[in-house]
Symmetry: C2
Subunit: 415 residues, 2 copies
């Protein structure tokens, strides 16, 4: 741990913050926001800044056929499988200054800190900027990490078009042409470990006054659409006892779902975000209601049990209305590597940083990378839990603490 602490001590809060603020100018939007879409000229300008900083830290720069950008610092054993860190540099259309880009800048800061501290690692350390994580310009997201991990070939995304009709294939070709001066490296490969630093995008660390989230995995999701059918009727002439009121049935169904999903540990997440009533007239009883269920939990068995109970529960609660429940999306929970998690925890303890083991509520590149490489993530607090918004904020010192934990954890894997 001594080497790790030396590198962590060389992390410069000011340098890291200045780099983030310089990057935030590229695609800046009002209210301290950023709009920097994947494979655009703005994306390339931001990457050129990062390339300069990486080269100054002694790293070599390469790009792969998915336009993932790689910065590599050799270790004592160039043939050893590398340790990788990184995240993404694209943003939401009305995004903030930290989502994704922090993980890349933190990786660059570790490169600089290694150089400044004079520590040499056994394994190579690589910092990566994955292509199109947000999926805002080209949907779905995580294309770069998906291609790298072998989940899908790059060619699978070629025909996907942005809002202007430009295909991912065309944008990628233009991009790689603009970075033709960078050596090309093969897509994929072996690695020893992957650790991604990211803002939490939720309020837990801030509300508990903690510095570091040790991300144990990415929770599973099950998404449903519920359609309740009753009978529309005149609000003035129809006695309540004779109604088949789809809105009142939906109320009963949601009350039953609240009971089903009640969790004293506050880990399970149940959300009804969309709710449509028809005909939607103030003096008509609703004849049909459609609402969504977003159910998430890190434990697969629990997620299955709760999700599987939904249909019978909703249909019973909806009576005398009828209910149809359709499952639109399912993603099993992912658990990160326990060895890496233990290493992160030991690093935070050695650094005197408070921490919490917690699942990630959102998706990340690490979810894809973990299929190919032992992986984990480090979270830093998000003010008010706000993300995907110009108001997204994490303080300079909170970001530096996260990077120190990342540095120590990476050194532990690579030493």
């Amino acid at each position: 741990m001594e080497q790790g602490l030396r590198v962590a001590a060389a992390v410069s809060e000011a340098r890291q913050w200045d780099r983030l603020m310089e990057l935030a100018k590229i695609g800046a939007i009002p209210g301290d926001g950023v709009n920097r879409q994947a494979l655009t000229a703005l994306d390339r300008a931001a990457r050129r800044l990062a390339i300069g900083w990486a080269e100054a830290a002694g790293a070599t720069v390469t790009v792969d056929e998915a336009a993932n950008l790689w910065f590599r610092l050799e270790g004592r054993d160039p043939s050893a499988a590398p340790v990788i860190t990184g995240s993404h540099m694209d943003s939401q259309p009305a995004g903030g200054r930290f989502d994704g880009i922090y993980g890349v800048v933190a990786g660059l800061e570790v490169l600089s800190a290694l150089r400044d501290s004079g520590v040499t690692l056994e394994r190579p350390l690589e910092v990566v900027a994955w292509t199109n994580e947000e999926g805002s310009r080209f949907s779905p997201g995580c294309m770069g990490s998906m291609a790298w991990a072998g989940t899908k070939p790059v060619s699978a995304f070629a025909e996907i078009a942005d809002a202007e009709g430009v295909t991912f294939g065309a944008a990628l070709a233009e991009h790689l042409q603009a970075e033709a001066d960078l050596p090309r490296r093969p897509l994929g490969g072996k690695a020893h470990a992957y650790i991604e630093a990211h803002i939490e995008q939720g309020p837990t660390l801030e509300s508990e006054g903690l510095a570091i989230g040790i991300v144990t995995g990415i929770q599973g999701s099950r998404w449903f659409t519920v359609t309740i059918t009753g009978a529309s009727a005149h609000a003035g002439t129809t006695p309540v006892s004779l109604r088949r009121d789809a809105l009142q049935a939906a109320m009963r169904a949601i009350a039953a779902l609240n009971a089903l999903t009640a969790d004293p540990t506050d880990v399970l997440r149940f959300t009804v975000g969309s709710f449509l009533a028809e005909p939607g007239s103030s003096n008509s009883v609703a004849g049909r209601v459609r609402f969504t269920i977003d159910l998430r939990h890190p434990d697969d068995a629990l997620l299955m049990e709760k999700g599987n109970a939904i249909t019978a529960l909703v249909q019973e609660a909806a009576y005398p209305c009828t209910a149809e429940i359709e499952e639109r999306f399912t993603a099993a929970p992912l658990s990160f590597d326990t060895g890496i998690l233990d290493g992160i925890e030991q690093a935070t303890q050695a650094l005197g940083l408070s921490s919490l083991r917690m699942p990630s509520g959102a998706f990340h590149d690490a979810q894809l990378v973990a299929r190919a490489v032992p992986s984990a993530m480090i979270f830093v607090p998000s003010r008010d839990g706000i993300s995907h918004n110009p108001a997204e904020f994490t303080s300079s010192s909170q970001l530096a603490a996260g990077t120190r934990a990342l540095a120590a954890a990476l050194v532990r894997q690579a030493a």
Copy 2:
């Protein structure tokens, strides 16, 4: 009551049904529906049919400046204040064959039955077809009865335009020109009593197997819009305990309102018909919800008490979200004339017809007329409670029973 029973016995179920079916052809739409808007050529064609039947029954025909159409059968004392019955001949855009028009045809049937039975009344009997009750072409509805009762002058509606930009004033002028052959009578005047027959437009009579609704009044209404403000958040990253979920707050508010408005007697009507959640994304916690409250009851004190409790109750239930409650519309309950109601009840008993005293959930011309003349209404059952829909249906025998009760009740007032 003997005279009344003689006239009731002369009511012809077949003649009345044939007239209704002949009228239903004028403006017929698929599925047995009718679209016959006020002051159109279709409206005039239907009125010409009614005029022919009224003249055949010995009635004189006049029209007033609001285009209300009058059929009058003189009694022994031409100077006595008349007894009036009637309803409207316009329909909803996708309306049925009975709403409104039944009340006019029932009145015509009483005229025919009087002639057939040879009974002469003391007072004049007048059948009226009020102009534009539905308010579908020109909003608001009940313009004819409103003008007749003196609530508003006809000129107040002159500039109101239909969807094609035709003003009520222009349509009325064109209409009166087309009926220039009919003698004009003054708008307004004194009357002894007004009884309107109408389909129930609700399921109560059918579900209880009853023939006649003795309508005690028109219930009062209070309409509110509730806006609940919380905070939108990521459904995956935000723990449930830290959310200010506007949709869940609305659930709690509606549960509290259900408790507030619970009524074992099933008279109070509480409806949430419109419900909008923002941003309305399945994986975002709702930051804002807007829903409507439609509260109705025949008792003014109870309506005031329940309605006045809403704001505090919703605000408490919505916590930690905030709630704003706006009252959009208030109409005090109206009670019909007890003497006329008693007369209707005695008529139904004498005729051996089952009946129920009940308030009207919907608005009717009688609500306006009652401000100038002692008034009441008679309801006949609506199949499945359906109205304002081509599927609207009441059987020929149910309609005839209603007309017999109407006949006996009118004779009682006019004898």
